[in-house]
């Protein structure tokens, strides 16, 4: 820790940006650990949620960076167990969403987040072009992006037999409307 790096402009801190974007005040967290205690993936995280909050409370660039680079933020399932039980009513998953966005924006996302990210990107691409999720397209797209070509090759035929794998996408009529929607939300930045 370098306590010498004094912050006159707390606008620089991730904590401040979180508060601006989500309304969550980091100071509300009093480090009771109830979030980590109930989190289904806390044992897999390099930084459990309470540790993420602790580091952000410092407002120091080196700790902000460690949070942005952590793998744990990509493991959050948004199951909302933590926020439901948090005695201080902190909306932790909302903060996790925002931190992930910042990690991407600043090019600090953990390398192992690549697969998870590839999946979400493929997912959104699919609905941008067809309006609805095209599961076969999603999986194919994900495989190309993640380079896990052989993953789940055994599952697809089984699903096909059960009538669960539509080989053709479901297209909505107003696909231009969807393009427009994407352009005016995620496409803005």
């Amino acid at each position: 820790m370098n306590s010498g790096s004094h912050h006159d402009h707390h606008e620089d801190t991730l904590a401040w940006r979180i508060q601006q974007a989500t309304g969550v005040k980091l100071a509300h967290c009093y480090q009771c650990g109830k979030c980590a205690a109930g989190c289904p993936v806390a044992d897999q995280m390099d930084l459990p949620p309470c540790q993420v909050f602790r580091m952000l409370q410092y407002g120091l660039p080196e700790y902000d960076k460690r949070v942005l680079e952590s793998e744990g933020i990509w493991l959050c399932l948004a199951c909302e167990t933590c926020s439901t039980r948090c005695p201080q009513e902190v909306e932790i998953p909302k903060v996790m969403d925002f931190i992930r966005g910042e990690a991407l924006r600043l090019n600090l996302a953990h390398p192992r987040s690549r697969d998870i990210l590839a999946f979400h990107r493929a997912f959104l691409d699919s609905i941008e072009y067809t309006g609805r999720l095209y599961e076969v397209g999603l999986v194919a797209d994900y495989k190309v992006r993640s380079r896990h070509f052989l993953k789940d090759v055994m599952l697809a035929p089984k699903m096909y037999v059960k009538g669960k794998l539509g080989l053709l996408p479901h297209l909505i009529k107003n696909r231009r409307g969807m393009k427009h929607l994407f352009k005016h939300t995620i496409g803005k930045g």
């Binding site: 439901t84 969403d97 999986v139 994900y142 789940d152 089984k158 699903m159 059960k162 994407f182």
Partner: protein
Amino acid sequence: MRIGYYPGCSLLGSSREFDESARAVLKALGVELVEVPDWNCCGASSAHILNHELSIALPARILALAEQAGISEILAPCAACSNRLLSAQQELEKHPELLPGIEKAIGMPYKGSVKIVNILEVLDRLKVLISVLTTAPFRKKVASYYGCLLVRPPRVVNFDRPEDPQSMDLLLKAVGATPVEWPFKTECCGAAFSVTRTDIVAKLSGKLVQDAVKRGADAIVVACPMCHSNLDLRRAEINEYLQKEYAVPAMFITQVVGLALGLDPKALGLHRHLVPVAFAETAGVQS
């Protein structure tokens, strides 16, 4: 009873049987479904991770389409969809300043007048009718599994109680089933990591399957396509993780109610499961 219907993407693909069974059961109960015209995907668990506005615009378009179609109440059987629709609706209620941007993106006006309900809420209203029409009581021990999205976050969904919910248990009792007392009703199954981190899904869902069987459940009953696909499609990975062959089926609540009403197992899509519902064929003749 007439109600708007938003099936969502999963119910067209990997969870077709949820759509089939929901339609079959509601038809048998005299409910007319009005599908939202030209609906799109709600963004599920991907949109909010990458872009906040997108995660509101996608559900807002669905709700605006429903408004245009004169729908005042909309059933979204998929727990993820109903959760996303509710979240977006409340976000727009809390932050009206977002509305102009969202209306521009979706290219139509949004009033926020549509009431969103999940499948358990709709079935709960029809509970008396269901128990009257039950011809083949579902005399099995069941683990009712609600998952995350139906009850959390409580401030958003405002449905049942956040821990140890009861609505599905009461519904199952109404059709003759015996819900087991188990602690994992709302534990997470691994949700959207089905494809990317199957190892986590195997572990979390494995815990559920193992405990349900230990407590004597003949079936795990769900109301969410993601939960179902993790418990059913990922059973091979689960069993590999647990080093044991667990054959307890995962069924949608609509399938259980459908069987109790004496509907054809095939019409309920029971043949589509990877983990076979062994007793489905005989369920119709039990009494």
